[in-house]
C-alpha cells in the first residue's frame, strides 16, 4: 500500500547522513558551517517534491535561495 519510492525528505535525510561523514574529518570550527548548509538545503523540500526535480539539484537550489535571502536581508540592513 502507498509509496514505493522514497520521498524527497527521505532522500535529503540520507544525503545529510552521507555528508555527515565529511564532518567527522573536518576542523571543528568548520563543522557548524557544513551543518548550516545542510539545514538550508532541506528548507525547500516541499517545492522540490512538488516540481518533481532531481533532489540533488533541488538541494543546491534551496541552499542558493536561502543564501540569496540572507544577502538581501544584509543589504537591506
Amino acid at each position: 500500500m502507498g509509496r514505493s519510492t522514497p520521498t524527497v525528505r527521505q532522500y535529503f535525510d540520507a544525503m545529510v547522513k552521507n555528508y555527515g561523514r565529511m564532518g567527522s574529518v573536518m576542523r571543528a570550527e568548520d563543522c557548524p558551517y557544513l551543518e548550516e548548509i545542510l539545514r538550508l538545503g532541506r528548507m525547500h523540500s516541499p517545492e522540490v517534491s512538488m516540481a518533481n526535480i532531481d533532489p540533488e539539484t533541488g538541494f543546491i537550489l534551496s541552499v542558493l535561495i536561502e543564501i540569496l535571502k540572507k544577502i538581501r536581508e544584509h543589504e537591506d540592513g
Binding site: S4, T5, T7, G23, S24, M26, M50, N52
Partner: protein
C-alpha cells in the same frame, strides 16, 4: 413497536436477531447463493459438463458485469458451504488460469443482508438515536492469567466469590451485547471458573494474534464467542475510538454484523461497504483481481508515486493565524472528481492535474458512487456532532472509514482498488492545496504551514471570501478550523521546522496541540500532567509578549515537578509498553525488551501486545509489570520530564527573543 434487526450470522442457514418490545427474537432463514464464472465458451461448456453430475448444484448460462464491462458466463447455484469445494474444482478444471470467478469469497451473512436489502440497527432518520440493545461490560483484573477482581458496567471492582460469579452470570445472560477485556486471557479464565462452579456458560475462544496496519504492530487478544450474543473485545480499534454507537453505525452502513465490525479494520469495513454496494447494484465482485496496476515508465512512477503536499514551516511563534481545512479531502476528491478503477486511465476524459491520467466524466464511477453515501453521512454528523455524543461517535467511526477508503485504493488486494486511482487522488490533493495557497497569497495572506489538507495563514484578510474562492476552484469543501491568538511551530532535532509538531491557542480559548509528549500514548502521566499545567499557564497569554511574561511561572512549574516528583501517585509513572517484535528480536536492551523479560516464564508477550510498566531501577534492569514494587527510578523519570520541558523552553526563548536559547546548535557529527 416494530422490530429492529440487530445481528445476522451463519452460512447455509442465516440466524437473524431482532430487537422487539418483548425482547430479543430469533428467526432462521434458509440461505442459497450463487457464484459467477467467466471464461471462453469452450471452457465454460466443459465446466458445465463437469458440474452437471453434481446433484445439489445447479447452473445457468448468464450475463454478468463487473465495474468495467459485461460478459457471458455461468451462474452456479449452490449452498455457501459448497463454495470452497467448487472453487477447488474450478481451479483444477481451469488449470488456475482459464476462469475468472466472482462473488465467491463474501461472508454469507454480509451477502445475505446486502442482497436482501436488510439494514442492521435501522433508524428512520440519521438524527435518530440507536435502538437500545441490552448490553453489559465486564472488566477483569488479575495477575498472570488468574482473575482476582471483576467489575460490571464500570461499577466498583468486586472480589471474586460465589455471589459475584452469580452476578456476572446473570449480567451476561440478560445482555445481548457483551463487551469484555480479554488481556492475558483474564475473561476466558473467568468464564472457565464460572463453568467449574456449574454455571451454564457456553463459549469458545478464537486465538488472537499480531498484525500490522499502517506500519504499526498491533495485537488482537484471544477472542471469546458465546452463542446468541454479540461479543466485543474492548481492545477493538473502533470500539475504543467510537464505542458501541460507532460500531452500530459501521454495521448499519456496511451491512456487516457488529461482532465482525468490531474485529476488522476500518479499511476492511470500507471494502465491505463497497462489496455491499456492488451486490445491491448487480456488480460482480472478483475473487482475484488483475487490475491493481497498469504498466508505467520509471519517470511516470517517479512523477506519480508521491503523497500529499507537506510544507516546511519556519520554527517560531506566529500571531493572527487562521487554519483552514479541506473537509474529508481525499474521499471528497474520489466522489467529486468521479475517480474509480474504470474511469481513470490514459485514454479520454478530464485531465488529472500534474499526471498522465484522465478521468471519464460521462459515466458515474463505481467507487465514487459507493463512497458518496459514506461521505455525505460523515459530513452531516461532523456538522451536528456537538449536539449529541452519539453523533460524535458516529462521526468518528465514519471518519476512520473515510480515511482508510483512500489507502485502500492503493492496496493490491482491495476488490475495487487501483494504483492509478490512488495516484490521481494524491495528485489532485496536491493541486487543491497549491491552488488554495496561491489564492490565499493573492488575497494578502502569508502561508505559514500546510499539511496535505490544512493550511495555516497569517494575516487579517477576508477568510469567508477566500474559502468561497477555494471551493469554486477546487470543488472540495473547505472550512475555517480555527483562528489562533498565537501558534508555535516547533523545531525538529535538525533545527528545521518539524512538520507536525506545534501548539497554538485559539481565540475560543482552546489549544490545538500536536506532536509533543502529552499527545503520545506512551508518555507517563507525570509528563502529561506537567504539559497540561504548562498549557493552563499559557491559556491566559493573548500575545507573544504575554508568553514571555509567563516565563517565570513556567520555570517555577518545572522546578516544582522536579522537586516534588516523589509525591506523585504511582499511576503517574506507568508507561504503556507497545512491543513491535518478540523479545528475542530486540538487539538493544531497552526498556521494552527488559519489561518483556520481566514477566514470569509462563507469560509470553507477543508483538503489538501492550502492557503497563513502571521503571524501578533502569541501570539494574528492574521494571515492574505486575505491581510487585513500590519504588520508582527518579533519575529516569526526571530525564523524561526534562524532555517534556523542551517545547515550552523553545516557546519562552522565542517569545522573549533570548539570544541564549536553550536550543544549542546541534552538531550532527563529531
Amino acid at each position: 413497536m416494530s422490530e429492529t434487526l440487530i445481528n445476522a450470522s451463519g452460512g447455509d442457514t442465516i440466524t437473524l436477531h431482532y430487537l422487539a418490545s418483548s425482547g430479543i427474537r430469533t428467526r432462521r432463514v434458509r440461505n442459497k447463493t450463487w457464484i459467477f464464472v467467466s471464461g471462453s465458451d469452450y471452457d465454460l461448456e466443459f465446466l458445465a459438463s463437469q458440474i452437471e453430475s453434481q446433484d445439489s448444484i445447479g447452473f445457468s448460462p448468464d450475463t454478468g458485469h463487473d465495474v468495467y464491462r459485461k460478459f457471458r458466463g455461468l451462474r452456479i447455484h449452490l449452498n455457501p458451504s459448497q463454495i470452497r469445494d467448487m472453487l477447488y474444482a474450478i481451479e483444477n478444471i481451469g488449470l488456475g488460469r482459464k476462469f475468472s470467478v466472482y462473488n465467491a469469497d463474501i461472508d454469507p451473512a454480509h451477502r445475505f443482508l446486502a442482497e436482501s436489502g436488510l439494514e442492521l440497527f435501522h433508524i428512520d432518520s440519521p438524527d435518530d438515536l440507536d435502538p437500545e440493545v441490552p448490553a453489559v461490560s465486564i472488566e477483569v483484573m488479575g495477575k498472570k492469567g488468574h482473575p482476582e477482581k471483576v467489575r460490571i458496567n464500570s461499577g466498583q471492582f468486586m472480589e471474586l466469590n460465589d455471589r459475584t460469579y452469580q452476578d456476572i452470570y446473570s449480567a451476561i445472560r440478560d445482555a445481548f451485547i457483551v463487551v469484555y477485556d480479554n488481556r492475558f486471557d483474564l475473561f476466558s479464565s473467568l468464564l472457565g471458573a464460572m463453568r467449574r462452579r456449574s454455571l451454564p456458560v457456553s463459549y469458545r475462544t478464537l486465538k488472537g494474534g499480531t498484525y500490522q496496519s499502517y506500519g504499526q504492530v498491533h495485537y488482537n487478544n484471544n477472542r471469546v464467542y458465546m452463542s446468541g450474543k454479540v461479543m466485543i473485545e474492548s481492545s477493538s480499534f473502533i470500539y475504543r475510538e467510537a464505542g458501541i454507537p460507532g460500531l452500530m453505525e459501521m454495521s448499519r452502513i456496511s451491512s456487516v454484523p457488529m461482532s465482525t465490525v468490531s474485529v476488522i479494520t476500518p479499511g476492511t469495513a470500507v471494502s465491505s461497504l463497497e462489496i455491499s454496494h456492488a451486490l445491491k447494484n448487480g456488480v460482480l465482485v472478483p475473487l482475484y483481481k488483475a487490475d491493481h496496476e497498469g504498466e508505467k515508465t520509471v519517470s511516470d512512477l517517479l512523477q506519480m508515486d508521491r503523497g500529499g503536499l507537506v510544507l516546511q514551516p519556519d520554527p517560531g511563534i506566529y500571531q493572527d493565524v487562521t487554519e483552514i481545512d479541506f473537509s474529508s479531502m481525499y474521499p471528497s476528491i474520489i466522489v467529486r472528481y468521479n475517480l474509480s478503477p474504470e474511469t481513470v486511465s490514459r485514454g479520454r476524459g478530464e485531465e488529472v492535474p500534474d499526471s498522465p491520467y484522465r478521468v471519464r466524466t460521462d459515466v458515474q464511477g463505481f467507487l465514487s458512487m459507493a463512497l458518496s453515501e459514506l461521505l455525505e453521512k460523515r459530513l452531516h454528523y461532523k456538522s451536528v456532532k456537538s449536539m449529541h455524543p452519539v453523533y460524535g461517535m458516529r462521526d468518528t467511526a465514519l471518519k476512520w472509514m473515510l480515511l482508510t477508503s483512500f489507502g485502500y485504493t492503493g492496496y493490491k488486494n482491495a476488490k475495487f482498488g487501483k494504483i492509478e486511482v490512488h495516484e490521481s487522488i494524491t495528485a489532485i490533493g496536491r493541486h487543491c492545496l497549491s491552488t488554495a495557497m496561491r489564492l490565499a497569497e493573492s488575497m494578502g495572506f502569508r502561508v505559514i504551514h500546510g499539511i496535505v489538507d490544512s493550511l495555516w495563514l497569517k494575516g487579517n484578510g477576508n477568510i469567508p471570501d477566500l474559502l468561497g474562492r477555494i471551493r469554486d476552484e477546487t470543488r472540495i469543501d473547505i472550512v475555517e478550523e480555527g483562528r489562533y491568538r498565537w501558534i508555535a511551530f516547533l523545531p525538529s532535532r535538525s533545527r528545521i521546522g518539524a512538520l507536525n509538531r506545534y501548539l497554538g491557542l485559539k481565540h475560543d480559548g482552546t489549544f490545538k496541540v500536536r506532536g509533543i509528549e502529552m499527545r503520545r500514548k506512551d508518555s507517563p502521566g507525570i509528563v502529561v500532567k506537567f504539559q497540561s499545567h504548562a498549557l493552563e499557564i499559557l491559556k491566559n497569554c493573548n500575545t507573544i509578549a504575554d508568553i514571555c511574561s509567563a516565563a517565570g511561572a513556567i520555570r517555577k512549574l518545572e522546578g516544582q515537578f522536579m522537586k516534588n516528583m516523589a509525591s506523585f501517585p504511582r499511576e503517574d509513572f506507568v508507561l504503556r509498553i507497545s512491543p513491535s517484535m518478540w523479545k528475542d528480536q530486540y538487539r538493544v536492551r531497552n526498556i521494552t525488551k527488559i519489561a518483556m523479560e520481566s514477566f514470569s516464564r509462563d507469560v509470553e508477550i507477543s508483538p503489538g501486545q501492550q502492557f503497563p510498566a513502571v521503571v524501578v531501577d533502569k541501570d539494574n534492569e528492574v521494571i515492574d509489570v505486575d505491581g510487585s514494587y513500590d519504588t520508582i527510578d527518579t533519575g529516569f523519570y526526571m530525564e523524561l520530564l526534562k524532555r517534556s520541558f523542551e517545547p515550552f523552553d523553545f516557546l519562552i526563548s522565542n517569545a522573549c527573543g533570548s539570544r541564549n536559547s536553550p536550543y544549542k546548535p546541534l552538531y550532527l557529527f563529531g
